[in-house]
Symmetry: C2
Subunit: 302 residues, 2 copies
Amino acid sequence: MALLVVGSVAYDALESPYGKVGRTLGGAATYFAVSAAFFTHVHLVAVVGDDFQANDEAILRKRSIDIDGLERTPGKCFFWAGRYSENLNERVTLATELNVFADFKPRLPQKYTNSRFVFLANIAPDLQRDVLRQVKGTPKLVAMDTMNYWIERTNDELRETLKHVDILMINDSETRQLSNEHNLLRAARHIFKMGPSTLVVKRGEYGAMMVDKNGVFCVPAFPLEEPHDPTGAGDSFAGGFMGYLAGVGSKSDAALRRAMVYGSVLGSFTVERFGLDRLLTLKKSEIHARARHFAKLTQFTL
Amino acid sequence: MALLVVGSVAYDALESPYGKVGRTLGGAATYFAVSAAFFTHVHLVAVVGDDFQANDEAILRKRSIDIDGLERTPGKCFFWAGRYSENLNERVTLATELNVFADFKPRLPQKYTNSRFVFLANIAPDLQRDVLRQVKGTPKLVAMDTMNYWIERTNDELRETLKHVDILMINDSETRQLSNEHNLLRAARHIFKMGPSTLVVKRGEYGAMMVDKNGVFCVPAFPLEEPHDPTGAGDSFAGGFMGYLAGVGSKSDAALRRAMVYGSVLGSFTVERFGLDRLLTLKKSEIHARARHFAKLTQFTL
């Protein structure tokens, strides 16, 4: 089934101990869409400026990604610059220039309005709700991301959006901030009262944890000797997760567990190289091989 | 097969947001032995002072723990006092009084010298080696713990001891300190050059990771809504891990994976209540039920 994503398509400047790049295609919706497109057809809603390059458009276009919802506006693309510490565990934001993203009003092309799987990447909560209003009927599954900025500045708007969402997919510090609970199980119970029935906590090098009515499911991060750049790992995780579910058209417990694994697989490939580089050469066979590797990493018999 | 452990038997004063206790039985060898005794017969080597209480001795004696190696010396027992922060993720040591432990010279009763499974808890590396010298022949499996103090102060002694050990079982900061590598896979490769063929990294609320020639195996921490006191969690993990292996007399890959799970099971019970409290009421059936719960927590089909 087609998967709708709304979020940022951007240019990033990245710096880590493994290299430096001045301007490369990035943005949450980009990482998400490229990851999800390994599993399903993706409907992309985002905005770019007139500096958006033809070769970057081609990256999206030649995959299973529909870009009729990629609006072009006079001005410049969203730009983000960041630098990672020696061990990649700390990040400094050097620049955030919203540019055309400042006035983004997501508009769904007619053919997108039947999307049954929806992912609302990290944008203003009222815009996330605007997107949901344009979708016909009730989607089978709506998931969203958010960040400290929206939790702090637009908490009421965020609470309103959460009422319409099945899965909240955020990192551990955002989970603690939103719920005002340090313990993640207690945090999940708070968040369930806000609307979502499933919480997926992204924990970086410690993997990811899903909490829902069936209990808890944990998946470790894939052990890598030389991660190069964590940019986009969380969005790739979300793309692998939602892409897998939309591809199989299911939200059963078994499918959700597999989605956690495929999300982790995509996230792990992303951090292997700079920016989108690894995802652009990735093959489906490599994805399935790494999923089997995750099984070896975690499974035991009693 | 009998499992030999050498380490501390102590009194602890503990303080956490869930309560406070002025003097309770503790020490690495205690948590280890009580945990391991669910699976196998334990040979305990430690030293206590003349303030060691009969009811505390009874705790050990009425389990499958041989205490002929528990030396009594004039003076006071090792005493440790610590306080945990609101979320239990930080610990302040308020007092460490070595007392009779300062002059501890481990001596193995004759019947202990045939132990085929050996655990060297966190004591001075030269004492750990003294214990190994008293064991007849080559044990089937030797594991050890250590801490930042020995890594910093007696690094040469520690390196000498590591040459004789199969499994090093430490936390992530100790792993990074000993290997001078932030990345745990690279750290493991460094540590393998020092002697151990297996590294088990204890990661607290993030679970545990085992690295050996077969690859990596990860197990999450059991999600608890209200952990009360992390004291002894790592030693209980080690006790469950080594107890399971000694009980089945195996060090196969499948057994090591199960040992990681049983270690995590014992660690998770320990933190549920203060000090040793939960371990003292624990039943074998509860251990097996929680091990099955770990399977539910981690397993998926592709």
